[in-house]
Amino acid sequence: MTTRYLLTDVAPLGGTPVDVLLADGVIAATGPDARAQAGDDATVIDGAGLVLLPGLVDLHTHLREPGREDAETVRTGTRAAAAGGFTAVHAMANTTPTQDTAGVVEQVWRLGRDAGWVDVRPVGAVTVGLEGERLAELGAMAQSEAAVRVFSDDGKCVHDPVLMRRALEYVKAFDGVVAQHAQEPRLTEGAQMHEGVVSAELGLTGWPAVAEEAVIARDVLLAEHVGSRLHVCHLSTAGSVEIIRWAKSRGIDVTAEVTPHHLVLTDDLARGYDPLFKVNPPLRTAADVEAVRAGLADGTIDIVATDHAPHTREDKDCEWAAAAFGMTGLETALSVVQETMVDTGRMTWADVARVLSSAPARIGRVDDHGRPVAVGEPANLVLVDPAARRVVDPREQATKSVNSPFRGRELPGRVVATFLRGRATVLDGVPCDDDAAVSR
């Protein structure tokens, strides 16, 4: 029998504090009933001052396994996810071998299940080997045990318009969605950072905003034409927000994500040539940061997704042009959203639950996650202390890699506990290593 947890005086979605009882994998009771039904054997967690949210769901995680286990494994990456308050993650397809067959996605799904930290939902590649030439066996991946619903060539753009059209159409048969990494390849050959004042000064090849916006504009029109749903990965520019806003006003079935780093960091950080700040799409300007915050607040942008991209030290400890693109994010995402959106008064905790849990769960068709905090619902939950403050030290994080752009930065909020189907994966802010692997 699993442990029963009585969470006392917790604030569901930041609302009125109540007691919540977790038993048998579900929320068994709330309010006065919770204490009454808890009995003597329940573990009591004093939740005064803490916010209770549905467990976070990441639509965009790079777990690096198979292939780059030196940067991250499914086990280390999902442990980091739990530490960050997540109960489900979507493992991106750019592994080696690529997640473009039923066999590979099932392997990743099994590794996730065996690790036991979060539910791992593999993302299937749209094209074989991410080469952008022919469709991967999308149906086989959808029908596999991994039950893939999100398809993406992330890291590369599905830039061939015919191929993109076919993919959008094909996944309708199994309620899938194509998640597009919007990057016009010809406009971004050799690109190193956002094209603008800073790139002009630094002499780094520019990645113009239009290279993202042009693809998004094309894709929303394609989605409209064929009546498919489209998801836009890591939108980063003010112009992209405008295009999504326009598409939604037209009734096009499009969703969009922004990363935590694009909510706060700008291209000025490239001035020190520290590859920690090299990411794709690149950090943009302060005006873009403001636009994506506004878009997230007004619902134009549906979700926050981490684009957690661990890299080995040698891939970052070099000159800028030689360094890999990407930054870690699982263990800082919630804090960044709190700092930029909640503490600034632009969003409530209920909004946070929407953008980091219920909306990504809906886009990825992840059952049992992102559910209301209500009796009978699966106990996939995270308990957050919004009053805490901490200085980010990448070496203390659970992820195997240390490429956090928030190194040395003080951020608000701390994950106190994470529950996956009623089982604590994190308690007192520490991953529960003893239990994770044994129970499922």
Partner: protein
Amino acid sequence: MRHLLSAADLDVRDAVRILDTAGQMAATQAREIKKLPTLRGRTVVNLFFEDSTRTRISFETAAKRLSADVINFSAKGSSVSKGESLKDTALTLQAMGADAVVIRHQSSGAPHTLAHAGWTNGAVVNAGDGTHQHPTQALLDAYTLRRHLVGDGGRSDVSGQDLAGLRVAIVGDVLHSRVARSNVQLLHTLGAHVTLVAPPTLVPVGVEAWPARVSYHLDEVIADDKPDAVMMLRVQRERMSSAGGGFFPSPLEYTRGFGLDARRLDALPDHAIVLHPGPMNRGLEISADAADSPRAVIVEQVANGVAVRMAVLYLLLAGESPAPTTTKVDA
């Protein structure tokens, strides 16, 4: 001054001090015995990841005239081409006791990374990084401009003076040019007015933040600005065949619009001088008439490069004289 990474690192005082020191160095180069004992026992490494015989020889000459030991490390045929990283190369040089590392690298920012990543204690001199900076080129250009255009044109002592009020046109491939970036910053610091002249495809997005005017018409700039100097940038022929069909349609069209030919040379004010960082593409950005005319100071730039690099090495390595040699034991 700990390193010289970018022209932007220099304020007007630093810049004038380097130019003045270069003047003193140049004076010693007129002597029969050109070698000075100043950097005896110090080691200067020329770390060249990109071929540039001219720049390497210039730095090598400068260091040797100051009596430093010089090690030339070229990426070709070395462990770098076998995959050794910048970091390991730097650590190796550090272990060998390099006092200064002169680095040329194809990646913008590599000298900055070398100076700040803790891989070396030596002074780092940027000898050209990607499309970012080439500060000693800008300094030698400023030195050349000052010699010819400040005071009475080279005969009087111009030490202590900046370039206030001079009008300089920089013409050509600004987008890919570290020479243009360095010169815009340094000339601005020294009080000159810079006009960049290029086809719009060779002007970077974001140039509006630079302290320079931009024009797409060389003839207009010559007629209206009456520049005191024109600095022609090298245009690489391969720019014609790069992504999107190239940055300009043909060499001929480029030359017609932006080449310095005899007609444009004649239209310049009488006192105006012509600079080029070399190597030149004769017949493309500059005609033989212009390159070989008395106004061209291109060969002199090369000589001035040695004096300026002597000054930079001197100020970096000997400028702050070490504390008197009292033996101090850690408390």
